[in-house]
Symmetry: C2
Subunit: 268 residues, 2 copies
């Protein structure tokens, strides 16, 4: 058994050419079932582990169809199309005969082109100058991260509703595990539901679809090591039971590593 | 044969309980194959046409795996999970035994909740005060729309590279067809590649993955009629052959109808 909780959660056993088997880990528990980020990560890792995979992750969409129960799950995956420079995968995560999660992943080769980063990381103090923040204790997976909120922290006690849904935080692995693509996929879901911030209280809410675009290539990821990332999320519209969230994750140097979007259901 | 080109492109023949057959239409041709928006629309329409479908569209992800050839295509689809208030679909578009497009769609019921729109439509002149713009003649599908650019128009002749990738336009159906969900899905891909604007010239570029979140419900869509929508798109980062685009579509009254994101490949 490897030492780090993230690596334990990424362990997959080969069942056949199109199936891997994994297991949930209590270190990544959310209120109901595992943290969505760890599910996204293990789906990405399944593609990375497949012998036919080419290139780096470019896009990942995960649809959370039903809660994953504690225990084993099977991930079936196939490359439905391999082009000269990219490859399209479809995945399903099942427990028994129930589909719990569906996903699609796009992998591809990078090549040198004109490049520019138009994104604007918010101006915030250095992580060393921000006190570590916390989620509520019931959210086990949050203990895997060192989080330092500079805007919109978790409303851990009754607070006034906020006029803005924006949360910004520095975040890194709590045990200094270096970043990789799967860890970046996991961090794309690191934000608590935006409706908590707007309402000042906890409400039933959950991500139903998550899409992440990976801008960094392997070398850029490797250069991050275990340093803090700057992560910022906001909602666009809350309407009749659903809202969307858009978020960005930057290196400390201000390079946009990933853009990530999700649709969330909520009740009030 | 129905009169409007959009409705013609939405016509599907039932092959069996999990398969519809459609056909490409020359009115929706892009440089290579059909416009990505019309493909997204016909995939959404396939789910809407299925007898098991519940609720309104909430999210749609379309992965453009290979160019669709002119002619017939088969859409296979199944509801992998139906919950109390939402339903997860997976789809594949094939020609012969080749997968050309994969997709996932999330549908669901709306219910009354607290609501707010945090999005900020750009401040622009009324569409009646903006001259109709144009794409290049080779882009046939663009003739289906009345487009009025207020920022970042198509660089139809050699122009200086722009410092910003933002395009904003008013857009409506050129023949006053009223909006519906499929037409909104189609419009989510109405923007030309952002790299054209940044480079001031046409480069090989194409959408490889498109995700749209639908904020409006049926009643809100019906109230739009055939009025203009305000549409604005920007890129976040261009890096080693790929860039992402985020865009929003608002009603004239400023309600956010859809948030839409895509990953695009390009060569220079």
């Amino acid at each position: 058994m490897t030492a780090h909780p993230f690596d334990r959660a990424m362990q997959l056993e080969t069942v056949d050419a199109e199936t891997f088997r994994g297991v949930t880990h209590p270190e990544w528990a959310n209120m109901v079932g595992p943290f969505g980020g760890i599910t996204a990560a293990v789906l990405l890792r399944a593609v990375q582990s497949h012998p036919e995979r080419i290139g780096d992750p470019l896009a990942l969409t995960v649809n959370f169809a039903a809660p994953i129960a504690d225990g084993e799950f099977d991930i079936s995956l196939r490359a439905v199309r391999t082009n000269r420079s990219n490859q399209h995968w479809v995945l399903e995560l099942r427990q028994g005969d129930e589909v719990k999660t569906t996903a699609s992943a796009l992998f591809g080769l990078h090549r040198d082109t004109w490049a520019d980063d138009e994104s604007h990381p918010p101006s915030v103090p250095a992580p060393e100058d921000v006190a570590p923040g916390r989620f509520v204790d019931a959210i086990v997976w949050a203990k895997r991260y060192d989080m330092r909120f500079t805007d919109g922290p978790v409303p851990t006690e009754a607070v006034a509703p906020s006029a803005s849904s924006t949360t910004t935080l520095w975040v890194r692995d709590a045990e200094d595990r270096p970043l990789d693509f799967a860890a970046l996929a996991c961090l794309s879901d690191v934000f608590f539901p935006r409706v908590f911030l707007r309402s000042g209280r906890f409400l039933p809410a959950g991500t139903i679809s998550l899409t992440t675009y990976f801008h960094a290539d392997q070398a850029e990821i490797d250069a991050i090591g275990s340093d803090f990332l700057l992560a910022s999320a906001h909602a666009n519209r809350f309407s009749r039971g659903y809202f969307d969230q858009s978020a960005h994750l930057w290196s400390r140097a201000g390079a946009l590593l990933a853009s990530t979007h999700q649709l969330v259901y909520f009740k009030d």
